[in-house]
């Protein structure tokens, strides 16, 4: 009979926020608890009764790492509820902003998770063992942020984006510069994959995802979607944004401060691994090459990190294309756009956005210009149960291979990191 096992990982390192993971085995069953240890801030509650135009500004404060997605998704939901239609250029600029955040966040996460696969203890050790590679990666990160600054200004809690307005003017030459720069970044990252593949050793090779259901946004056009009106699940089900509540249910487990979302009672996952599978037909030849070259196994949760890298390469190319396309359409640039008066209307709106870590849902009900009801479902909430389920199966898999306690602990920590959870988002 298998001996009892009790392990606890306090504050998993290299993760945004605090999360405690406990592993318990009794007889043949294993239980992994993904316990968010952040303090809740009750965003959905304290915004009630506030003017709808304030909501995106405050909602972006849910998370400093992925503030742009909360901001843009919230703007989308408020505009839907109030019946505001912004100019097409502004929509493209928001998509650009969103895309830049996906690129930057995923890129930084690849860097944070890479030590698990190279055998280094942490990022500092990695920077010492591979100084040239690290410097190049950091330089690319700086260039991505610089390009973002050209489009929208400050990266964290961008002030230029708000309801029915875009506050930063952008010239045609700036857009052209951003386009060319992102094309260069994409090319460099494509070339860097060779160096990365050499040091990227598989951990837990052969481990399979026990619950292969995933969720992504349904592309409204033949294009990688940043925003959409529909959710799409891996079993082919397409759900309108307003009806998300019929398929996604939330509940709060006692050991965690965050909620857990389930798809018809079953765990599902979101993120780059899901997107790269779902949008495989939209990918460029380079991205497909990368998938083959990096040998991405979509049935292994650890390969989410590789999928993130592929997405970074693909998205930077897509952003370059979008920026150049917009520049070609414009004569001088995009001027400051501001709707004269935001109507004090009533309505309901659900914003869906592609967050770096998966699918983000912002749902608001507005009455006479004031927020009446708010519900935010973040990617980490959707992934939480899936992390537990794959953690349980990973522990069994590792023990069957004769792994020691320390090895099991490291593997589970690496698994949590591979999903790229963001705890401030989960506990909002």
């Amino acid at each position: 009979m298998a001996e009892a096992l009790k392990l606890k990982i306090e504050e998993v390192p290299a993760v945004a926020g605090k999360v405690n993971v406990s592993i318990e085995r009794e007889r043949a069953t294993v239980r992994v608890d993904f316990g968010a240890a952040q303090d809740p801030r009750f965003f959905e509650r304290f915004l009630k009764g506030r003017p709808a135009t304030y909501v995106p500004h405050v909602m972006s404060r849910i998370c400093g790492v992925c503030s742009v997605v909360h901001l843009t998704c919230s703007i989308e939901a408020v505009e839907k509820a109030l019946g505001i239609e912004p100019k097409p250029e502004v929509k493209v600029l928001r998509e650009l902003a969103k895309g830049f955040e996906n690129v930057q966040n995923n890129f930084v996460h690849v860097l944070m998770a890479l030590p698990d696969y190279t055998g280094d203890e942490n990022v500092v050790c990695f920077s010492k063992s591979h100084p040239h590679l690290f410097t190049r990666l950091m330089d690319i990160n700086k260039r991505i942020l610089e390009a973002y600054r050209r489009v929208c200004g400050r990266f964290i809690h961008t002030p230029s984006l708000s309801v029915a307005s875009h506050g930063k003017p952008i010239a045609k030459w700036e857009l052209e510069y951003v386009g060319k720069e992102m094309a260069r970044v994409s090319k460099e990252l494509y070339d860097l994959a060779g160096d990365l593949a050499e040091i990227w050793n598989p951990i837990a090779q052969g481990f399979k995802d026990p619950a292969p259901t995933f969720c992504v946004l349904n592309p409204p056009r033949e294009e990688f979607p940043m925003f959409s009106d529909e959710l799409m699940f891996s079993d082919g089900l397409v759900v309108r944004a307003e009806k998300y509540g019929e398929v996604i249910e939330e509940h709060k487990p006692p050991y965690s401060n965050a909620k857990v979302a389930l798809y018809r009672g079953k765990p599902f996952y979101v993120g780059s691994r899901a997107r790269m599978q779902a949008y495989s037909e939209l990918l460029t030849a380079e991205a497909r090459d990368m998938i083959k070259f990096l040998d991405v196994d979509f049935s292994n949760p650890f390969d989410n990190v590789k999928a993130q890298y592929v997405e970074v390469v693909y998205l930077s190319d897509l952003l370059a294309e979008k920026a150049l396309e917009l520049a070609a359409r414009l004569r001088g640039g995009v001027a400051i756009f501001r709707e004269e008066k935001v109507p004090e209307a009533s309505g309901e709106g659900v914003g869906l956005a592609t967050a770096p870590r998966g699918v983000l849902i912002h749902h608001y009900r507005i009455r006479d210009g004031k927020l009446e009801y708010a519900n935010v479902i973040t990617p980490t909430v959707m992934n939480a149960r899936h992390i537990e389920v794959s953690g349980e199966s990973l522990v069994l898999w590792a023990l069957s291979k004769g792994a020691e306690k320390a090895r099991v602990k490291n593997l589970v920590a690496a698994l949590v990191r591979a999903y790229d959870p963001c705890l401030p988002c989960a506990v909002h």
């Binding site: 500004h57 400050r154 002030p159 708000s162 506050g167």
Partner: protein, 219 residues
């Protein structure tokens, strides 16, 4: 030539040089407002105070050295005295930065940052000229009643001020600012409800609310 020792640094200067000039040679920074070399040396702002090791105080712009002497220019008590002097000077200034063209060329703003004096609104750092002020376009910007020091990050990036640095504590400026809000047709309740987002537990918020009520009841 005479030897002058300021904060332990020795410099040789011509007899008749002021302590301020000697300090500049050694690279020690002494704040000043009124001195314009060759035009005005009346020592009226009293921000350039220095002292002898014995503790005698005098304005450095007006004291000329004719023998070897030692001075202190950067002790904490001197900075505190300079700060108080500057605060007293500012009492006579209207601080209507929202209507002022000077903006980043203003030496008062520069000095207030150096001396950590509060009461300067974000408008002093705003990149928009008064004619382009967001308030004139109907945007509720809290710059007038918010403590400066952020280089108006949000306004530079095309947003409005949300007051994240907290309210300014000088009541007279608050009165003028709220009068200006009222003049432009803003509802005081809206202003307070926006300010609440960041200031609900800020120490100066009670004063802000009191002033807003006062402006309404004045009619």
């Amino acid at each position: 030539m005479v030897k002058v020792k300021i904060d332990g640094k020795v410099v040789e200067v011509e007899p008749g040089t002021t302590v301020l000039e000697a300090a500049e040679k050694t690279g020690i920074k002494i704040p000043r407002l009124c001195v314009v070399p060759g035009l005005y040396e009346g020592s009226s702002c009293r921000l350039c105070l220095v002292k002898t090791p014995a503790g005698r105080l005098f304005p450095s712009c007006n004291y000329r050295v004719y023998r070897d002497e030692e001075f202190l220019a950067s002790t904490p008590d001197l900075w505190e005295m300079r700060r108080v002097n500057f605060e007293l000077l500012l009492k006579f200034h209207k601080m209507e930065c929202w209507a002022c063209e000077r903006k980043s060329f203003c030496s008062l703003v520069e000095l207030s940052k150096e001396l950590l004096v509060d009461g300067i609104p974000v408008c002093s750092e705003c990149p928009l000229p008064p004619s382009e002020c967001l308030l004139l376009k109907g945007e509720l910007c809290l710059g007038m009643i918010t403590q400066s020091g952020c280089n108006a990050e949000c306004l530079v990036s095309g947003g409005e001020c949300w007051g994240c640095r907290g309210p300014i504590t000088r009541e007279d400026i608050l009165w003028r600012a709220f009068a200006h809000y009222k003049e432009l047709g803003f509802n005081m309740k809206d202003v307070i409800s926006k300010a609440e987002i960041y200031w609900n537990s800020a120490p100066g918020f009670a004063t802000v609310k009191k002033v807003a009520e006062g402006v309404v009841s004045r009619g």
